[in-house]
Amino acid sequence: MKYLDDNIDVIINTIRQMNGNSSDIADRKLKIGKTNIACIFLESVSSDDKISDFLMRSLTDTVKKRRIISFDNLFDIIKNNLLNSKTKILKDYDDLFFHLASGFTCVLVEGNNQCIAVETKTKLDRGITESTTEAIIRGPKDSFTENHMVNIGLIRKRIKDPNLLFNEVLVGRRTKTKVCITYIQDIAESQTVNKIKEKIESIDIDGVLDSGYIRDFLNSGKLDAFPEYVSTERPDVVCGSLLDGKIVILVENSPFTLVIPGTFIDFIHSSEDYYQKSINTTFTRFLRIAAFIVTLLTPAIYIALTTINQELVPDSLLISLSVQRQTVPFPTLIEVLLLLSAFEILRETDIRTPNVMGTAISVVGALVLGEAAVNAGIISPIVVIIVSITSISGLTFSDIDFINAIRLWRLLFIFTSAFLGIIGVTVSILILIIKLVSMENYETPYLAPFSPFFLKEQKDALYKAPTSKLKKRPFYLTKNRTRLGD
C-alpha cells in the first residue's frame, strides 16, 4: 500500500503511470485563490454531465459564495460544500484507482496527502428489460440487469423489510467484483448464511465475471450433472425464494442470481405457478414431470424395445416399425445418436447465431433433417418422431443447467439400453434415483419433500394447494415457519 503524496502533479503522474498512460484518464486543473486543485477521473466510466454540473459548479461556487479569504482549510471547505450525495476520503493509491475505476472523480488539493472521491458514475447498462430466458405469460415481467444497484433495488422494491440484508463481499483480486449475500435475517438459517459467507470470503481468484464463477466454489465438489442452485434473472423468483428462507447471491455485472439451496422440485416449479389458479398449476406440474420422464427415457426405451425386447411391442406396431426400418443402413443406436446430436448442434447454432440468420437455419434444419433424411432412407420416420418428442419435452424447463443435465443422463440411458435392453433402462433409472437421493446441499436433501417423504410439505410440491392454504414455510429451509397469519 502506497500513501498519497501531497503534490497534485506527482499524484496525477503516478496514477497515469500505474495504468500505463491509458487514454481514458482525464484531469482538470483549476486554481482557487492561490491553491491548485485538480480533478481526476476516468472518462469511460464517468458522466461528463455530472462532473460539470455538480462537481465543477460546486467547486467554483463555494469560493464565490463564501468569499473565502483564508485557504488554509480549503480541503475541509470543499468536502463540506460538495453537492453530490456520495463522497469519500481516500488515502492511498490502490484505493484511489479502485474508485476511479468505479466511476468516481477524485478532487486533489495541493498540499494534502488525501483526496475527496465524488461519485460521478455514468450509466453503463441496458436498463430493465423483459426476461428473455424465463418468459412467462402472467406475472411481473422485469428482470435483473448488469447493474448491481438496480438489481438490489429491484429486490428492495418488493421486500421493504428491515430484516432483508445485503451482505457485500469483494471477490476477485483484479476485478474486485461485489458479491452480495442476500437473505432475510429472521427467516434464513444463520448457520447456512455463515457457511456461505465463509466460502465466498475464502475465494481467491483473479476475476469474477458472472455468478457462474461463484457457483463452482459453493458446491460440495462432487461431480453432479444436476444443478444444486437455481439460477434466475427474475426478481420475483428471487423474492419468493427469500421469503421461503433461501439465500440469494447477487454478483455485480451479472443479471443471473444464485438461489441456495436448490432442490429438484425447484426446477419443476415456475414462478408463474403462484400467479395462476392452483388446480391448473397442479396439472401443469404433472405435465412437467411427464415431460421430464419423456425427455429422459423416450430414446432409450425406443432402442430397448426395437433391438432387444421386441416381444414387448404390440404386433401391428412392431410390423409397422420394422417396415419403416427396411432401408435404413445404420443400427438403431447410431441412428438415434445421429439425429439427437444433429438436434443438439442445431440448438447450439441457434443460440450463437445472430437473429437475422435464424430463419435460414430453421429452414435447413427442418428440411434436411426432417424431410430429406427420411426420404433418402437414411433415417426412419419413427426416429424423427422420437427425437422430436424428446427435444420438445426437454425445452419445457427454463434452467439451462437442468436441461444439460438431462441431456447427459439421457446419453447414459441410451447406451445402457442399447446393451441391456429394458433391464439396462431399469438399472439406469435406479442409478439416477440413487444419485439424486444421495445429493444434498446445505443440509437440504435434493429430492425434498419426496425423499425423505414429508406428507405435510406436499402442499406445494407436485400438488399445489391454494395460496391461502399454504400456512407454513418448508421446514427443511427454515425454523421460522409462519407464512400466513391467523
Binding site: 426395437t306 433391438t307 432387444i308 421386441q310 416381444e311 404386433d315 401391428s316 412392431l318 410390423i319 409397422s320 416399425l321 420394422s322 417396415v323 419403416q324 426400418r325 427396411q326 435404413v328 443400427p331 438403431t332 427420411v374 420416420p381 445402457t416 442399447a418 446393451f419 441391456l420 439396462g424
Partner: protein, 398 residues
Amino acid sequence: MKKRLIIILLLPVLLTGCWNYSELNEIAIATGISIDWEDDKYKLTALISNAQKTEGSSKEGEAQITVFEGTGKTMTEALKNIELKLPKELYLKHISIIIIGEELAKKGVGNILDYLIRDPNSPNKFNILISRDTKAGDILKIISPLETFPSQNVSLMLVTSAKFIGSAVEISYNDFIQTYLNQGINPILPSITIKGNEKKGEDQKNIKQSEPDTYLNLSNLAILKNDKLLGFVSERESIGINIINSKIKQTKIHAKCKGEEEDSYIVANLNSLKTSSEITKDLKIKINVKATGYITEANCKIDLTDEKNIIDVQKSMESELKKTIKEALEVVQEYKSDVFGFGSKYYKRYPKEWKKLKDNWDEETFPNLEYEIKTDINLKTKGTSNKTIEEVYKKNES
C-alpha cells in the same frame, strides 16, 4: 481402487456383447403358424408380416404379407427348412395364432406342445385353432378385406365371436396347456374353415371386390381327448358348452311365441351370464345359470307392458336355455371326454374318492353322470317399444 471398481462395474455391461440383440430390419416377424401332417411329416406354414410393399404404395410403412412353407420330421427341422428360404432371422415371439390341421389334431398334438414348452425362442401368447375340412396352411393365405393380416383377422374374429355370439371361444396357449396337463379335464378348441375357393382367396383381387369370393369362417368347437381330436359339435352345442364353462358373457336366445304359428319368435340378448357348476360327492352335477337380458326382437302378438306376459316369456326362455345346456352336456357325454372339468372339480374337493374313479373317469363315470340344470333369466328392459310394431300399425288403421 476407484478405477478398479469402475472397470469391474463396466465389465458385465461391455462383455455381454449385445445378448439377443437384433435390428428390426433383420428379423422376419411371423404372426401366425399353421401345422399340417402330410406324408408322415410336419408341414409348417409361417405367415411373415413385415415384407415391404413394392408396387403402388405411397404410404411409408405399409406392409405386405408373405407365406413360407417348410417340412420336416420334427418341428425344429420344419422351422429350419423355413429359415433356409428366408434372408432374415425368423422371429416367432409375436405369433398370435397357431392353426392345427384336422389330420394332425386326430393324430395328436402332444409333440408340438413339447416343442412350444421347451424352446426358449418359441412363442408363448397365442390362440390355438383347428382347421376344419381344409388344410391349415391354406387358412393363413386368405386375405381378408377388413384386416391386413390374416393372423390378426382370425384373432379378432375369435374375440368378437366369443363376445357377442358365443359359439367360438378364445383358447390361449396357457389355457390349452393347463387343461391338457390337469387331471379330470380335457381341452376344447375353436375351429375355423374356409368358405369359397381357396386359390382365389390368396389373390389380392379377392379383397378388392365388394363381395369377396373367399372368406374365413369360424366354425364350431372341437372336442379333444388328451391331445387327440374326437370331433366337432354343432353351433348350439358350442354355445351350451361355453355357457357351462362360463367362457362367455353374452349370447342371444330365441323363444317361440305362445300359441302362435311356428315361425314367430321373441329374441333376447342375454348379458352378464353367470354359471356356477358343482359336482356332489355322490356324483351329481348341478349347473346353475343366471342371466339378465333385454328383448331385441318381438314378433309375437303380446302386450309387453303386462308383467305376466314378460314372466311367461322369461319362463319359455329359461326352458330354452336349459335345453341348450342339456343338449351340450349330453353330446359331450357321448364323446366320453370331460371338457367341462367336472373330474378336476371332483378331484379338488374329494381327492381320496378321486383316486378310485381316476382311471375310468372319461370312459365310465363321466358319460353316466346325472345332472340337474337350473336357469334363471331376468329380462330387465323391453327394448324401446312396449308393443310390437305390428300392433301399433293395426291400431292406427282401425
